[in-house]
Subunit: 360 residues, 2 copies
Amino acid sequence: MERIYNFSAGPAVLPREVLEQASDELMNWHGCGMSVMEMSHRGKEFTSILEAAEADLRTLMAIPANYKVLFLQGGATLQFAQVPMNLLAGGSADYIVTGDWSKKACKEAGHYGTVRQVVTTEADGFTSFPTWSGLDLNPDAAYLHLCTNETIRGVEVLDFDSLPTAVPLVADMSSHILSRPMEVSRFGLIYAGAQKNIGPAGVCLVLIRDDLLGKAAVGTPTLLDYAVQAENHSMLNTPPTFSIYMAGLVFKWLIRQGGLAAMEQVNIKKAGLLYDVITRTGFYHNPVQPAFRSRMNVPFTLRDPSLDETFLAQARQHGILQIKGHKSVGGMRASIYNAMPLEGVQALADFMADFEQKHG
Amino acid sequence: MERIYNFSAGPAVLPREVLEQASDELMNWHGCGMSVMEMSHRGKEFTSILEAAEADLRTLMAIPANYKVLFLQGGATLQFAQVPMNLLAGGSADYIVTGDWSKKACKEAGHYGTVRQVVTTEADGFTSFPTWSGLDLNPDAAYLHLCTNETIRGVEVLDFDSLPTAVPLVADMSSHILSRPMEVSRFGLIYAGAQKNIGPAGVCLVLIRDDLLGKAAVGTPTLLDYAVQAENHSMLNTPPTFSIYMAGLVFKWLIRQGGLAAMEQVNIKKAGLLYDVITRTGFYHNPVQPAFRSRMNVPFTLRDPSLDETFLAQARQHGILQIKGHKSVGGMRASIYNAMPLEGVQALADFMADFEQKHG
C-alpha cells in the first residue's frame, strides 16, 4: 500500500518531507557517524538540534523573550498535575470546562489544592465555549485554566481577543498549537502534547512566563519543577532526544511553508471544505455551534448510523484512514492538522459528497 | 564519515540492523501506509507493536507472570520520585548509596517520607559495593533501594545471589538491564531508562510485582500511579510510541543474538579486553575493586592526564567517539552496551595498547 490519508487525532500524520528527511538521516546524521537516537544529549550535535528547535519555534510563534520554552515528557496528562503543582502555591485556581480534556485537567488539579470549576458546558454536550461576560471569575486566582481546542468534540476558541486578562491564563493547546498565529503574551503558560501538531509522541511543549517560575509545591518531583527544567534547558536528565529532533524538523517545515499565517489560510480552507459538506444537507451532522467549530478536529455523524461501517469501509478503499470518531461520541472525526495536505481533505470531502449521493 | 564506534554512556549506540530496519520502515510500516510515528496508539497496528515488545521482553528476561511490565516516561530520574510516591505508603525505606545515581535517588525519595541511607561508599570514591553482612537494614522497610550498575563510576553488582531478601528490593538497572540473565523474582521493582541498553531515550521500563501495586500516596499524579498504568497497559495517555517500537526491535535483535545468556558471554569478553589493557601496566588506571568492575561502563584515567586531549583526538581519528569521562570523574569512559560490537571494543583495546606503546 502507498502512504494513505491519515485522519488520526493523534499520534497523527507528519509532513512527508519531514519523514523523508528523518529516514535519510536515520543511520548517520549530517555525516557525524551516528543516528540522532545514539547521540549523547550533552554533546555538541544534539545541543545544536535542541537549540535550533527552540530558536525556530520562537521565530514561528514570536515567543517573547520573557517566556521559557521547555521540552518535557508525560504529555498533556502529566501537565494536568504539573500545572497546579507548580502554580497553585497555596492559592486557588479557576477552571473552564468545555470538553473531555479540560474536565480531566480540572479533576486532576483538585488533588493539589483549591480548584473551582467556574463553568461547564457539559449540559449542552460540550458544543460551545462560554461567553466570558457574567462568569464568576476569581480575581485572585493563581491562574485560569482552559483548553483552547477540545480534540474530541471539536470545539475551538478562535477569538483570543475576548479572553480575560485579570489572572494568568493557562491553556492546553495540544491539538491546535501552530495552526495559526497566536499571541503568546496573552497566556501565562501554554502546554501541548506533541503528537498532534508538533511531532511524534513523547515530548510535551511548555511555554511559561518567567514570573511564574519558582513556585513549585513541596513534594513536586524535581523533574516536574518548571524552574529546575528551565535552569537546565530541559536537560535535567536525558530528554526525549529523537522526538525533539523530529519536532525541530516540523518547525523548519512550517517555516518553509511560510509560517503560521500561511498555515492559517490553508487550515481555514481545509476546514471549510469539510464543514461545507457536513452542513449542506442533513445527511451529515456536527452539533458544535458554528462560531466554535474546530479547524483541526472535525467530528460528524451520519444521520443513519447503520451506514457507519459502510462509510468506514469505503473510506478505507479511498485511502482515507483513522477517521472513526472517539468512542465517547461515535460517528466520525477527521483530524486535519497542519501536516494533512489540502489534497487529503479534498479527497475526503469528495468521498463524503459521493457517499451522500449514493446513500442519501 | 562512515558510522563510527560510539562509546557514549547514553543515549548510546543501537544495533546497526535495528537502525537499518527502522530506516526501511520509517515511511510506511509493514505496508500500512503510515509511519509508526503517525499511528493512533489505540489502533491495531500500534497495539500489536506494544504487545510484541512486552511479549519479547518477557521471553528475554523470563519475567514471572505476577510482574507487570510498564513502558513509562520521565526516565530513571522521575522514578527517583515515583518509587517512593508509590511504595512508601507511610512507611520507611532503606537506600544503599554506591554512586552518583543511587545518591540522587536517595535524596529525591527523602521528599516523600522517611528514607534511611543505610550505607554510602562515597568515602572510598564509590569504588565498591558494600558487603551485606553487618549492614543495619530495617526489616520493616517498605523497600530497599539499590543501583545495580553505577554508570558514572562503573560499579556493578555481578552477584545477585547475596542480595538480602527480607524486604522488597527496588533496583535501578538503567545501565545494565538485558546485559545478562537476571532473576527478576529477586526484586519487587526494577526500573531502567531505555537510552543505554534498551533503545532510544524517551521511554523508561518498569517491572513491578503485583502485590506492590495500589499503594500510591495521595497527591501522586494519576499518570505516575503504577496501578493506574498497569490497568491501562501503559496507555493511560499517549505513550512514547516510536521509542517503544524501537525498544521492541532491540528485543527482537537480542532474541536473534541468542538471548541474554549469549549476550553475557560476549559482554564478559568485551569487558575483559578493556580491563586487560587497563590493568596490564600503570599507564591506565581504574580504581574500582575488581569484583565490582562494570561490564557495561569502563571508566579509566591516564597516568599522565596531560595526554588526555591527545588520546581523545587520536581516538577520534580511529573512529572511536564519545569516550570522554563524566565531568565529575575526568579521564575516559567506554560504555560497551549490548549494541557495541566486539570489533568496536577490540578497536579501542588495540588503540589503547598502541597509544600506551607510543606514549608510555
